[in-house]
Every structure is written in C-alpha cells, then in structure tokens.
C-alpha cells in the first residue's frame, strides 16, 4: 500500500522505519493503539509526507505524490479491526516481489531482500557473500535505482507473470538459505530465509513450490547440528549422528511436504524436499532414485544427474553408480563430481584412481571445510 502509493522504495522503507521508531517511543508511554497496524500505516504516511516535503529536487513529483497521498488518506476506509495486520503483510508481499524481480541480478536481489525484508546490516550481508561492504552497498543502491527507473512496479504480479516472478522470489530465498547453510554455518541467514518462506507460504498458501521450498529448507536445516563436527569438519549424510537432527523441524518439514503433494504439481523444491524426507526416514534408496527420476523430468541438469547416480550407487552398488556417473559428462569442472567418483572408486578398492579423483576435487574446491574433508580422505587412502 505504502510502496504502491509512494512509488519509491527508499521513501517507503524509511517512512516505515521512522514510524516504528515513533511507535516504540510512544506506545510504552501512551499505551497500545486500538489498531496498531493501521496506526503504523498512518504514521508512515505522515512521515513520508514530511520527508517528501523536505526534498527539493523533484518538485513536480512531490506535488503529484502529495496529491496522491491525500486522496488515499481520504478514500482509504478504516482498516477492518478483525484483520489488523493485513495492510502491512500485504505490503511485504509486494515488496518481496519487487526486490526479487527477475530483471535484477541474483546477487542484487539477495542483498536487497536481506536489507529491506530482513534485519541484517549491509556489512553482515557483504560478509556472507564474500564481498567488501562498499561493493555490497553499491550493488544494493544500484538495484534500488533500477527499480525506481526501469518500470518495476510495487505490485503483486499479474497471473501471466506470476510463475516466473514467484520462481525468482524462491530462487532468491534459497540463495539466502545457502549462504547460511555453509559450512561455515551462518544461522542468521538460514533463519531469515525460513522466516521469509514462512511468510510467503502464509500469504500464498496454494503455491506448491513455495510450500516445497519452505519444507526443503526446514528439512535441510534440521541436520545443521550433525553436518559439521566439533572441529568444524564436514560430516557426510551417511556418517551423521541422527540423534542430533532436529525432530520437530523434520516433522514440520514433513507436514509441508504432505501439503505440497496435496496441491498436486511436482516442482523442483517439493521433489527435493521429498528426498530430504526419505533421508530423515532412513534413506529408502529405491524411492530416492525414483524421486531423482522425477526431478530429472522437471530439471534435467548435470548436477541432478550426479545426485541420481549417487542414489543409484546406494541402491545397486558402486559399480552401477560409477557407470551412471561416467555417462553424465559436462561436470569435469565441478569438484563434487570428482569427490563423488572418488568415493565410489574407493569403495571398489580402485585406490589409485580414487586418490587421483580426490586430487581433482581438491584442485577445484574453494571451500575451506570441504578441502579439509577431501585432504583427510586422501590421507586415509595413503595409509
């Protein structure tokens, strides 16, 4: 509502922040207003008017905006007391679609989402994405400028545009999650991604892929404590201490997977979440291979093929897995391809080849924790 009226992200953001600050000052003193959400919107609108008045450069626009804001103020009916938070929640959905617009570069979407919808500072965002703070600040401000000047509207997309726009929102949330998934784990990012996905599911409960992504993140996050050992070293799924998995989170993830299947359409996130459910239940590899077949049907990428090959190795033995892996091609530059091959070669006692494959993986890998894991495997082979 506010962003739509103001048509300027910065102003809306600042105005809402200002209004919250005023509220924090006033509510403890004067008591909570009858309708806090409506109060915030009104206060934010007044703050925005103040700010607009203080700007000198865009005089023409200022007049138009003021006129627009006044009309909205007069026309807007009193918010329904039964649904006190709807204006702001609605605003956040609009904001989510805006800052995740597919015409923005993915890393800009991530930065902007974390800054506008999350409580993270630019410095924190920059650290997680391994860039200098000024570079991240510039990326964010460039994205804001693009939104302001390129015709991206603060609106929930039309039906025809919804699938692609929603995909872009989901990709952005998953990028945020993965930035925190590590290793090293940064739980403020995984928690933020899960929080935003929850909000999205709450607002668009019939979108199977939103439900699927939330389930996937909950299920992956449930293994957080078991994925890295006391020395910060990576532990493979097979070797994880399952008693460290968060049962409550798994149960919640499973409920969302079930809901996703009820909605009918199998998308990439829901299928991956379903695979995670299988792992949580104890890894029935026949079902997991079947799920990877479904994933391949909707997303035939080399990485999916690699995961499918790993599942085949578990179901039919390392030889069959290796055959499936060697049929992929395209993955010579991907360290996990070599690491997965090395693991199968090791299990087949082809130790020289295994060592070479681990070496290739090590040469391509830039994660400290994973490099440590690979070096450890090479050392074990040598002994």
């Amino acid at each position: 509502m506010l962003t739509r009226v103001l048509g300027d992200l910065d102003r809306a953001e600042e105005a809402v922040q200002d209004a919250f600050l005023v509220a924090l000052e006033r509510w403890p003193r004067d008591g909570l207003p009858d309708n806090p959400a409506a109060w915030i919107v009104t206060a934010a609108r007044n703050r925005a008017l103040d700010r607009i008045r203080s700007e000198k450069r865009w005089i023409g626009r200022r007049k138009a905006l003021e006129a627009e804001l006044r009309t909205v103020g007069e026309e807007a009916p009193e918010p329904d007391a039964d649904e006190p938070v709807s204006p702001i929640v609605d605003d956040r959905l609009r904001l989510m679609f805006t800052v995740c617009h597919p015409a923005l570069a993915p890393e800009a979407r991530v930065g902007l989402t974390l800054r506008t919808l999350g409580g993270l500072s630019t410095a924190e965002v920059a650290r997680a994405f391994l860039v200098a703070e000024p570079a991240m600040a510039q990326r964010i401000s460039r994205a804001k400028r693009k939104i302001a000047s390129s015709g991206i509207k603060y609106e929930i997309p039309r039906d025809a545009d919804l699938p692609e726009r929603l995909r872009s929102v989901l990709t952005t949330l998953y990028l945020i999650f993965n930035a925190g998934y590590g290793p090293p784990v940064r739980s403020e990012f995984t928690a933020e991604a899960i929080r935003l996905a929850r909000l999205l599911v709450q607002l668009m409960p019939d979108e199977g892929e939103a439900v699927g992504l939330l389930a996937l993140m909950l299920l992956q996050d449930s293994r957080r404590a078991a994925r890295v050992d006391a020395d910060g070293r990576l532990v493979l799924l097979r070797d994880q201490d399952r008693s460290l998995w968060d049962r409550e989170q798994i149960a919640e993830g499973q409920r969302f997977v079930a809901r996703g299947w009820q909605l009918g359409r199998l998308g990439v996130y829901l299928i991956q979440a379903s695979i995670a459910v299988e792992h949580a239940r104890g890894s029935d590899w026949t079902r997991i291979v079947w799920l990877y077949d479904q994933l391949w049907a909707v997303s035939p990428t080399p990485v999916v093929a690699l995961n499918r090959a790993v599942a085949i190795a578990e179901r039919d033995g390392p030889e069959a897995g290796l055959d499936a892996m060697d049929a992929i091609g395209d993955l010579d530059g991907y360290h996990l391809f070599h690491a997965a091959r090395a693991d199968l070669l090791r299990r087949l006692d082809r130790l020289g080849e295994a060592q070479a494959a681990y070496g290739a993986a090590l040469g391509l890998c830039d994660s400290e924790v994973e490099r440590e894991f690979l070096s450890r495997r090479i050392a074990e082979l040598g002994s």
């Binding site: 023409g60 597919p102 015409a103 460039r142 400028r145 000047s149 390129s150 509207k153 545009d161 726009r165």
Partner: protein
C-alpha cells in the same frame, strides 16, 4: 528515406551534471529539435534512461532469460527497434521476448526517459 540517428555518450556526463548543465542540454536539444522540426525532417525522438535501468532479453530453447543490464557483447549489431507503450516492465519484457530476434540474438529493453520530474 527514413533514418535513425542513434546517440552515444558517456552516461556519467549526465549523471554528474549540475542542474545548470542539464538545463543547457535541454536547451541544446530543444534547438536541434526546433531546427529539424522546422526543416520537416524530425519524426520523433526520445531520451533513454541510463543503462542501469536496462534489461536484456533472450529466448533460448523456448525459455526466456533475463540479464540485468544493457546488451554488452560485440558479436551482434543493432538491427532495429520497436517503441512500446506498456503498463510496466513485466509487460514490456513479455512483448520483447516475442520479437523474433530474441530467439537467436538479444533484445535490450530500456525505459524512455520521463521528464515530468524535472523543472523547466
């Protein structure tokens, strides 16, 4: 014959310009458009938003791919243009993706400058 006169300039010149410099540029363009109009050769023209507002559209294997930013390669050459009136970027991108060249070349979508906010 009709001709398209395509303007190239360093964007930072306008980004860093003072109000006076922008006013001078308006005046210079006004003079050009006035003269060309009087001579009967001017059919139309627009300023474009800077490349920061650009989105490049390609369609490959039936799938639309968007890139943030202007068309920035050298293997294709400017081949034509359409001027579209759309409600928002989404609608413009939908149309851009239907331009035949999107399938084997690229279509850069850039908003036409809106001067309403400027004084004078």
């Amino acid at each position: 014959m009709k001709f398209l006169a395509i303007i190239y300039n360093d964007e930072s010149i306008y980004a860093d310009a003072t109000q006076e410099q922008i006013a001078a540029s308006f005046e210079a363009h006004g003079a050009f458009a006035g003269a060309a109009g009087e001579a009967g050769v001017l059919l139309g023209g627009e300023g474009l938003e800077p490349t920061a507002a650009a989105t490049t559209v390609r369609v490959r294997d039936g799938e639309r791919m968007l890139t943030d930013g202007p068309y920035a390669e050298t293997k294709e050459q400017l081949g034509g243009y359409y001027l579209l009136e759309c409600k928002d970027l989404d609608e413009a991108l939908t149309w851009a993706a239907q331009i035949p060249e999107a399938k084997f070349g690229a279509v850069e979508v850039r908003p036409v400058m809106d001067y309403d906010g400027y004084e004078g």
